[in-house]
Symmetry: C2
Subunit: 195 residues, 2 copies
Amino acid sequence: MPKLWNETIEAHRREVRDAILDSTAALAAEKGPLSVTMSQIAEKAGIGRATLYKYFPDVEAILHAWHAREIAGHLARLTEVRDRTDGPGKRLEAVLEAYALITHASHGHHDTDLGAFLHRDSGDHLAHSHRRLQHMVQDLLTEAAQAGDVRADIPPAELTRYCLSALAAARTLPSEAAVRRLVTVTLAGVRPSPH
Amino acid sequence: MPKLWNETIEAHRREVRDAILDSTAALAAEKGPLSVTMSQIAEKAGIGRATLYKYFPDVEAILHAWHAREIAGHLARLTEVRDRTDGPGKRLEAVLEAYALITHASHGHHDTDLGAFLHRDSGDHLAHSHRRLQHMVQDLLTEAAQAGDVRADIPPAELTRYCLSALAAARTLPSEAAVRRLVTVTLAGVRPSPH
């Protein structure tokens, strides 16, 4: 069945928008976020400047939209990993490993001008996403503690801060193998105490 | 035995310098670092403006000197804790707990304009102190691994990043009791694997 006209328009708009975000992120990583111009973005995305301005008012707005899309993608990925894994202990492991690998893979952003730019101005948005992540991990830890896979002598809210803080080290590790070892060590910390 | 004249002068200079640093830090915390003036500092420290300028050229220089003194104090405190504790396992525990408590106690700085100001401009100095901290913790982990108190299946450099990253959560915890629980969990992560 052919798409309805409205769906076709909507799909086209999403494609253009994605092309704008991808082009801007590539230019910002290459030249630094403050040197990118709307003309360069239009050229790289293969659209006219007038069209670009129908989508976004300025470079800053595009970079924030790109960042929001990245973060939403990460959260969607973690949700997917959670929902396809059985058993509270395994689910916790799978989500923390996926989180650590995402943190490792996106570490490039944090070391660059682009990272500094995004983190300076996107406080609210980031804080909201971080809360969603915290809730997801805390629910997994609570569930795993009830199943006896995680120590029950420490509040899940504190174990959540510990896990996310420990796994932030994935940003500075040199390899995925090292990231997996970090996940092993972090999980060892939340196992039920042998005493 | 009375002090020599040179020692007396030196002690006096240190006292004045400390009074300047303390006054500036207090004013910066109260008004924000960018609103503090040299006149206010001189008044609060109980010295003349001309004297103040013999010690420091501007407010920024004083704030950096204050921060350097803080960090040096923290490292000295950790060294002292290390040197008075016997046994590799106990020594690691004592130093990590002291580090977590210091991180917790100084968390106020990081949430304020003063913290933002200091961390923006003191990159090199902070990086140097952080490397000294990393070396200290890595030596303790290596020694504890040799004694069988810490897992030997993961490189001490990686365990160091894990420990310092995990303990950074102390900054956001509400109480010293929670900080001690964080230290317990973090240390559980580095214990020899039971398998």
